[in-house]
């Protein structure tokens, strides 16, 4: 899932300040699961902003609305009417959602209320971990199902480096060394010898380095 975190209220206040009619637009899929931008977060943020602006003596109308996904036109259209009634939108979706809304409403500023952080896993309630970079050419098969591109701070394809300590990364004591995990897992799969095979430089064209990507599924185009 896409994991995000709501921006600090002070930052949100600063970016919505110029506007008089603000719609806080929630997104009911990924950012709902990580408690950043679902219906509940929209309601809590709206109340907090109303209260805070009232204290500052600033008049602002704040409306609330949440759609299933801000990254799909079908759902975006559901919000078209309410968006048109306001002079600004604070989107609590990921960066993709913010842009999908923005490009459909030329005259209305669409502002981000969430920092999109990573593609991750809900490891347990309230705890998310980054697992995937979306490099466009998955190599998990040769690394025992653990991604060194995402989970090693140096993206080493022929790791580990010399700095891990007792299974943890030298740069952050709470971060597990991806290569330690790869070695342990390869051992338990009986595939430790795989790791002596040289992995050549990665072709990054499939990643964002090759410019923004598109996926066309002809078989699904109507």
């Amino acid at each position: 899932m896409i994991v995000g975190e709501q921006k600090p209220i002070a930052e949100i206040k600063a970016i919505v300040k110029p506007y008089k009619k603000l719609l806080i637009l929630g997104c009911g899929t990924c950012v709902k699961t990580c408690f950043a931008g679902g219906e509940d977060e929209v309601a809590v943020l709206a109340s907090a902003l109303r209260l805070s602006f009232k204290k500052d003596g600033k008049a602002i109308d704040i409306a609330e609305y949440t759609i299933e996904r801000q990254c799909e036109n079908e759902f975006i259209q559901e919000a078209a009417k309410v968006i048109a009634q306001n002079d600004s939108v604070l989107s609590l979706a990921c960066g993709a959602g913010v842009q999908a809304i923005a490009r459909r409403f030329a005259k209305i500023p669409v502002l981000p209320g969430v920092n999109t952080t990573f593609l991750g896993v809900l490891e347990r309630q309230g705890f998310f971990t980054e697992e995937c970079t979306g490099c466009g050419n998955c190599v998990l098969g040769i690394f025992g199902g653990i991604c060194p591109i995402t989970r090693c701070a140096k993206k080493l394809l022929n790791g580990p480096c010399g700095g891990s300590q007792k299974g943890y990364c030298e740069i952050k004591a709470e971060t597990e060394c991806a290569w330690h995990l790869i070695i342990d897992r390869s051992k338990s799969l009986g595939q430790l010898n795989n790791l002596t095979t040289y992995v050549p430089p990665k072709d990054w064209r499939s990643s964002n380095s090759g410019g923004p990507r598109r996926l066309v599924r002809e078989d699904h185009i109507i």
Partner: protein, 310 residues
């Protein structure tokens, strides 16, 4: 092993002599004298001088320019290159720049993470890793081609080295990792600072049993302690370095004013000991911000005068 490059370091190793290398760190500024003075201090006592590449991720004069300074003094530089800051275009380009000055040694490293340095906000690159940089340097030399497949006019002619750290976690991967570096084409290794002799010797023996030492020269890394404080710091604070308690104790039991001398004594004892270890082909003396002690260490270890080769 057959000599493949004009590298003096390679020739000395191939002739069966113990090689001695040391290093200079470029300055946080553009004063060339900073480099040339350090090099003057050690030049007659070492066969080649490593120039570090923005070590500990702190911005400094570039390794390549400092290597050129050494080369212009008639010395033998080892160009350290980390993969942290440059992509494959820049790495290959810098290799060619070095080759244009006939710099004949390269040490391929991944580099410390930028979060340790003065630009923690910066991005890292790691388009290649150190293993792939080894392979790239060899490919450019042996095939005369760029990674992209094009021909190189006057290919680089470098003796290709890398680091190895037998003390990093997990130990069981350390020999397979050396095997991988050898397969990628590494020709010499400069090890991490050795204090735990037993572990180093075990790593070397396991590497030998795997047949790796027939294909790569190992230079044992040594670093003298300047003080008991440094010994403790190395033990407790530097990831991937193992300092046995008895060494820390020996430094701590020495009166403060005698500690530098004791640190040098320990370093010399270590070299003497390592000379008797099969598979050690030379020494990489890393006297951190203490370059002036390199001559004494080399001389007292019986490694002076340095041999001459054709």
């Amino acid at each position: 092993m057959k000599v493949k490059t004009p590298s003096k370091l390679e020739k000395i190793l191939a002739a069966g002599h113990y090689a001695v290398t040391s290093e200079v760190g470029p300055p946080r500024g553009s004063d060339p004298e900073n480099i040339t003075k350090k090099a003057e201090m050690i030049k007659d006592y070492v066969d080649a001088i490593n120039v570090t590449d923005n070590q500990t991720s702190v911005t400094r004069m570039c390794s390549l320019a400092a290597c050129i300074r050494l080369k212009l003094m008639g010395l033998e530089p080892v160009l350290q290159m980390v993969t942290r800051d440059r992509n494959r275009i820049a790495l290959q380009s810098d290799i060619l720049g070095a080759a244009s000055y006939d710099i004949h040694n390269i040490l391929c490293l991944s580099g410390d993470h930028q979060s340790f340095g003065d630009c923690a906000q910066g991005q890292n690159v790691h388009d290649l890793d150190s293993m792939q940089l080894i392979q790239t340097a060899r490919y450019m030399r042996d095939e005369g081609k760029f990674l992209g497949g094009g021909d190189i006019g006057r290919p680089p002619n470098m003796f290709v080295g890398a680091a190895a750290n037998p003390f990093a976690d997990p130990f069981e991967i350390r020999v397979p990792r050396l095997a991988k570096k050898v397969a990628a084409g590494v020709e010499f290794i400069q090890s991490q600072c050795i204090y735990n002799m037993e572990k180093f010797e075990l790593w070397l023996k396991m590497s030998g049993d795997r047949g790796l030492l027939d294909n790569v020269y190992i230079l044992a890394g040594v670093t003298p302690f300047k003080s008991a404080g440094m010994a403790r710091y190395m033990k407790n604070r530097v990831p991937g370095i193992e300092v046995p308690d008895e060494l820390v104790k020996r430094m701590a039991d020495t009166p403060k004013e005698k500690q530098p001398e004791e640190g040098i004594n320990i370093c010399i004892e270590q070299i003497e000991h390592l000379k008797g270890v099969e598979g050690v082909h030379g020494f990489h003396v890393m006297a951190i911000e203490w370059e002036e002690m390199v001559p004494e260490i080399v001389e007292r270890s019986g490694l002076y005068p340095r041999p001459t080769v054709e």
